[in-house]
Each structure stands twice: as structure tokens, then as C-alpha cells.
């Protein structure tokens, strides 16, 4: 038998093994890529994590980021004690009752029981404010109340106080569908957000859509790409080992693609938040969510 034939035989076996391993690798990748079919039930209440998308959506189905996480991560959100976001919610419960500022008031002085007064508030954030002639995020609403009505100091965007309070208020809308306004006065801001979403930026020349629309469900190295919905913010992220805001997340993404990030509370991020929230219209508010 000629030498060449033997070599070919070995290569042939190796090639087959190679194909088999590639096939295995690819099939594992596909298995991990689909959002899983688990249902989120928190303290007996079912939370909608899969809905029919709003008109104009590029997706057939909208999935919450919860669906893209491993079952162990999902379990951490299904129990309010296991959920590591709750210590800050507890802090906010206390802050709600704390008198601060020159007006001698606490949040509860005007808003009384948060479960009643704050119900639904998170579902349509950012929201148009006539007095300011622009939309405001939940953080901006809180600081507006603090400075103009309580005569108290602003809270920093990423402070424990602000994270806790936005989580506590968000919690009062948990289970309710996201319903941000995108027409009328909001339209130019929504449109600006949409432009930002689709514009490539940074040294890596990528856009939000490049990952979260074109490749949602696929693996980017070891991360499972979601559709980029923000219905769970503020969210406890393992990567941060603490709760974080939407704008922090936006900033992180921009840094990853080596773009100069916008600032928290900037017009760009407010516009982007409106647009991204609208892409998740119909999903339940999950605040405070647990993510990777």
C-alpha cells in the first residue's frame, strides 16, 4: 500500500473526528443560543417574560433578558429573599419615610403608601414633563422632587440611595406591562434614541442593533446575547456584584466597543432609554431583576 494512502487514511479519520467535533460544538452552541422556556414566578405571581412584539418590531417574539440566563441565575430572581437586589430595596423603604430638606418632608409626606401611589409609575418611564418641556427618567423625577419639593440635595445617579429608590419604586410596578409613550411630544426624543441605537460607533465600529437585533440569541464568546430589553432595571448584575442603573449598562456597552460613552442622565442616554424601553413594550416590569 503506498505511504500516501496511509497518511490519507489517518487524515481522513482525523477529518471525520474534526467534523464530528465541529458538529458537536455547533450543536451545543445552538442549544445554548435559544432563550429557554422557563416561566418566571415570583412569590406566586407569574411575570410575563415572553410576549408578542409591538408593531414595527424586528422580532417575532419579545423575550425578557431573564430568559437568556442559566437556570441558577433565573432562580435567584424567583425569590425575593434570594434576590441580592433586595438589601437596597430595604434601604429605600426606610428612606421613603425619612424627612429630609428644608421643607421638612419625606417621600411619604406626599406620596403616602408607595404600593398605591407608585403603582404603574415605572411602566412608562422616561415620561414627558410639561414644566421642564422634556422627558425625565425615574432618577430625574426623584431628584426633581428632592430639590424642588423637599428642598433636599440631589442624589448621585449611581448612589445606593438612588439605586435603592428606583428599585423600590420599580418594584411597585412589577408584573405590569412596559408602556412608554413614543408619540406626540416624545416622538423627536424617541426618534433620536432610534438613531443612536442603529448608529455604529467606537473603535470596534458597532451599534446596539449589531448585537441585540442582528444577533440576539447567539453567543458572543461566553455571553448569551439577549434582545437588550431594560424591563428589569435597576438590575443586580453579577458582573457588578451590585445593583446598577440602565445608564450604567449603556455606558458599559459603549466602553466595550471602545466608544466614548455618554454620561448618565445625558440627553443621548435619555433618548436611548426611551427607544430601548419601547422595543420591550408589553414585557412585564421585573425590577429588581438579576442578570449576569
Amino acid at each position: 500500500m503506498p505511504k500516501g494512502f496511509k497518511l490519507y487514511g489517518l487524515a481522513g479519520v482525523a477529518a471525520v473526528a474534526g467534523v464530528a467535533t465541529v458538529a458537536l460544538g455547533l450543536s451545543i452552541q445552538t442549544l445554548m443560543a435559544d432563550p429557554n422556556n422557563n416561566e418566571l414566578v415570583v412569590d406566586g405571581k407569574k411575570i410575563t417574560t415572553k410576549v408578542k412584539p409591538p408593531k414595527g418590531s424586528p422580532f417575532d417574539t419579545l423575550y425578557s433578558g431573564w430568559r437568556f440566563r442559566s437556570k441558577e441565575t433565573q432562580a435567584l430572581q424567583a425569590d425575593d429573599f434570594e434576590n441580592p437586589g433586595f438589601p437596597l430595596v430595604d434601604l429605600a423603604r426606610e428612606l421613603w419615610l425619612k424627612v429630609e430638606g428644608t421643607a421638612g418632608k419625606s417621600c411619604s409626606s406626599c406620596h403616602e403608601d408607595a404600593a398605591k401611589s407608585m403603582k404603574g409609575v415605572r411602566t412608562n418611564m422616561p415620561k414627558w414633563n410639561d414644566a421642564k418641556g422634556r422627558p425625565l427618567t425615574l432618577e430625574q423625577h426623584i431628584n426633581l422632587c428632592r430639590t424642588e419639593r423637599m428642598g433636599a440635595k440631589k442624589w448621585k445617579w449611581e448612589s445606593n440611595h438612588m439605586l435603592g429608590m428606583t428599585a423600590f419604586i420599580g418594584l411597585q410596578s412589577r408584573g405590569m406591562p412596559v408602556k412608554v409613550q413614543t408619540n406626540g411630544k416624545m416622538k423627536p426624543w424617541w426618534k433620536r434614541g432610534k438613531d443612536l441605537y442603529y448608529t455604529r460607533v467606537g473603535q470596534l465600529d458597532m451599534s446596539c442593533a449589531g448585537c441585540h437585533e442582528d444577533n440576539a440569541g447567539k453567543m458572543i464568546r461566553a455571553d448569551h446575547l439577549s434582545q437588550g430589553n431594560i424591563n428589569g432595571f435597576p438590575t443586580y448584575r453579577f458582573k457588578w456584584q451590585k445593583m446598577g442603573s440602565v445608564h450604567r449598562r449603556f455606558k458599559g456597552c459603549m466602553k466595550n466597543i471602545r466608544a466614548k460613552p455618554y454620561k448618565r442622565g445625558s440627553d443621548e442616554f435619555v433618548a436611548l432609554e426611551i427607544y430601548v424601553a419601547s422595543r420591550g413594550q408589553g414585557l412585564s416590569v421585573e425590577t429588581p431583576a438579576v442578570r449576569n
Binding site: 500516501g4 494512502f5 497518511l7 490519507y8 487524515a11 481522513g12 482525523a14 477529518a15 473526528a17 474534526g18 467534523v19 464530528a20 467535533t21 465541529v22 458537536l24 460544538g25 455547533l26 451545543i28 440566563r69 442559566s70 437556570k71 441558577e72 441565575t73 432562580a75 435567584l76 448585537c211 458572543i220 464568546r221 461566553a222 455571553d223 446575547l225 453579577f238 458582573k239 456584584q241 449598562r249 455606558k251 458599559g252 456597552c253 466602553k255 466595550n256 449576569n292
Partner: protein, 151 residues
């Protein structure tokens, strides 16, 4: 006979796919000297048996900095016969010691759950010491994925 370009490509990508899946081999998790030392010190000369201890860990950890882990040890948990301590070791971490649980007959059940940090794919070990000095062990390999686009 030369390998065709296609065959070379398949061989190469096969190797990459195997690396990506990260199939562990037994030799990859040979316990280090430090781990052996800590187990020996904990066991206090007793022979290490298998069984009785059950370590629960995810097959793949979504994020190595928060990995939920549970340990359960079979025992009547009476004053005469109970689990004294269970030591958790992360064999691939820069420092393998993670936590040591101390039970008592009042525990009722020798179970504990916590969340641990794993620096990379590795074997996690739980060693249990009984009130009569006997020692048992369980181990699990946890795959830790590194690299992504986290923001």
C-alpha cells in the same frame, strides 16, 4: 497523499470547537499540594471515605463570581452522631479555601447553601468530618466561562 485544504480546515476547526467546549480531563484537576495539605489537616489523620456527602453545583457557571453551591451530608444528627464540620475547597482558585460550616446536633439536618467565587473551570471539593472522627468527601467539576461582552 496531501491533506486537502478542506480537511486541514476541518481538523483545525475541530480542535477549536473542542477547546471552546472545554472538555475537562482527569489530569487537568489533579489536586495541588496546598489542597492536599488542607484536606489532611482537616481530616486529622482519618481515612477519607466516599458517600454520605452530596455537593450540588451548576454544570456551567454563568458568572464565576457568583456560583450557587449546596452541600448535604447524611447523618442522624443526634448528640451521639452528627456532622461536625464541612469544608469547601475551590481547587483552581488562587487560594483554595472557601468556607467551613460548623453544625451541631441542633442543626437537625447537615445542609448549607452559599454562593462562591470560582476563578476558572475547576473541581470544587466538600470534605465532611463527623463527631466520631470519620471523614467523607465529594467533588464536582464546575465549568466557568470566561470572556464575553459584559459592559
Amino acid at each position: 497523499m496531501e491533506l486537502t485544504k478542506r480537511e486541514l480546515l476541518l481538523l483545525g476547526s475541530g480542535a477549536i470547537a473542542t477547546m471552546a467546549v472545554g472538555l475537562p480531563t482527569a489530569s487537568a484537576f489533579a489536586a495541588s499540594a496546598e489542597v492536599e495539605k488542607q484536606i489532611a489537616a482537616f481530616a486529622g489523620g482519618a481515612k477519607i471515605g466516599s458517600g454520605k456527602v452530596s455537593l450540588t453545583a451548576p454544570e456551567i457557571a454563568e458568572n464565576g463570581n457568583t456560583v450557587p453551591i449546596s452541600v448535604d451530608v447524611e447523618s442522624p444528627m443526634t448528640k451521639a452522631d452528627y456532622v461536625k464540620s464541612v469544608m469547601l475547597l475551590a481547587t483552581g482558585n488562587p487560594a483554595p479555601g472557601v468556607a467551613t460550616f460548623h453544625f451541631s446536633p441542633m442543626s437537625g439536618q447537615a445542609s448549607a447553601t452559599t454562593r462562591i467565587r470560582l476563578a476558572k473551570t475547576q473541581e470544587v471539593i466538600a470534605v465532611a468530618k463527623m463527631s466520631n472522627g470519620s471523614v467523607f468527601m465529594d467533588k464536582k467539576v464546575v465549568k466557568v466561562t470566561i470572556g464575553g461582552c459584559g459592559g
